[in-house]
Symmetry: C2
DNA sequence: CGATTCTTTGACTAGGATCAATGGGCGTGG
DNA sequence: CCACGCCCATTGATCCTAGTCAAAGAATCG
């Protein structure tokens, strides 16, 4: 079992809705698991017998075509929820982008527990509604934005989401370290790695950002970046 | 108030989880409203004081850029739920694509009612999870598929969703009438109207489908269509 | 320090967008 | 009932953005 009372994401995850006794009960069902970067937790199309909370690290949700094209359809951060309650098979793969630690539950047991704990279910509903809004917003980006708009939008969103995650470089939200490489940015934006790279290089020479290292981004002209995001 | 007991979507909408007394209570909060084709119910970015169930007709959820580009991020059919519980402003516009009828609730009242009715909330959660899966699936289409794959995927999905809606032409799921025109298909697929039109013409001359009238589609070679969907 | 992996850069191509004109259905009014 | 006008869809010609193919250049890891 797991000691939920001292959990790092205790206050931010859906578990925050539970009282100490309930927490103990849930803790008995869950177990912590480490995941190495690159390791896949759930496979698209497979029966998904588990759901989980992310304690540490970043994971991606991926949908792939038969011929190998990939689209990242979601990025999961600590305190976020993984998996498909009330479902059978996972509609996407879940793969760790960094070393990660998750708190895993048997899906059936979790479904039942959720059924008996409306507060937990409401938290889950709120989160799911937020995710849906985010996904739909992303659909606009994928369907209607140009490469430069995509990259600018992406950097701005990342600068927000990575704030308060301890990922900042230099302490401001304008500097941050991405937890993934160029190919993954491309898979998020529906671009190729070359186009992504070219856009970043262009933005640097235009003075919108610095690229101190492969994964570090420092936005130096946020106004221009926002204008470019469209 | 509204007579929920005789509602056309009574068994399919989220209200299906309620017993007669609860239904009566919810009925007191709701009111039916007719919406003309083209009329916008909720505006992107505005405070959205209502949620609703669709009784009849088809509506679209639209996200737009400042310069007027539009992306349809969701299509809403009878028995589907509209609006953003626990939210403030609507993240997208909701516009009727056909004449429609909806059952409207004050959002705050609905939120409170939902809070006291876990079954309703669970139905809502299931629906939202399904919508999220659909949205994510659509992200792959928008980000990674070619124009022909997009159109083929779209037609196949529509043939499924319009089945059992009384929209069939000729009674099989291969023939159906779209509730919208070419521009809207383009806005769903992240294409231009010209590209959409060209793809349909091409498919017709390749013998994959017939286009008996502007809005009717008859898929004549479903296997080929599926192969083309990627 | 060498091997591998990831990223950048370059040259070229192609798919879809754009611009422009024509065609066809449908409703309205003569 | 037909003619006109409007709206939507189709088709054509051209352009341009992003994709593809290829190679060189940096990080990273053993």
């Amino acid at each position: 079992m797991t000691d939920c009372a001292s959990c790092v994401v205790r206050n931010r995850a859906i578990c925050a809705s539970l009282n100490p006794e309930e927490l103990l009960l849930l803790g008995k069902m869950g177990r912590k698991q480490r995941v190495k970067a690159g390791q896949t937790l759930l496979w698209e199309g497979d029966d998904a017998p588990v759901v989980a909370n992310v304690l540490e690290g970043v994971l991606k949700l991926v949908v792939a075509t038969a011929d190998g094209r990939e689209q990242i359809v979601g990025i999961v951060f600590p305190s976020d929820f993984i998996g498909r309650p009330f479902g059978k098979e996972s509609p996407y793969s879940v793969t760790a982008m960094t070393d990660a630690e998750v708190c895993i539950f048997n899906r059936n047991a979790f479904d039942e527990f959720a059924g008996n704990h409306p507060d937990l279910q409401q938290k889950l509903l709120r989160r799911t509604l937020d995710e849906l809004d985010r996904a739909r917003h992303w659909m606009m980006l994928l369907g209607r934005k140009s490469a430069s708009e995509k990259v600018a939008s992406f950097l701005l969103e990342m600068s927000e989401r990575l704030s308060g995650q301890g990922c900042q470089v230099g302490g401001t939200r304008n500097g941050f370290e991405l937890p993934f490489g160029r190919q993954q940015i491309a898979d998020i934006l529906g671009l190729t790695i070359e186009t992504t790279s070219r856009q970043l290089t262009r933005m640097r020479s235009d003075g919108l950002l610095d690229l101190p290292s492969r994964r570090e981004i420092v936005i130096t002209d946020r106004d221009a970046m926002e204008a470019m995001a469209g």
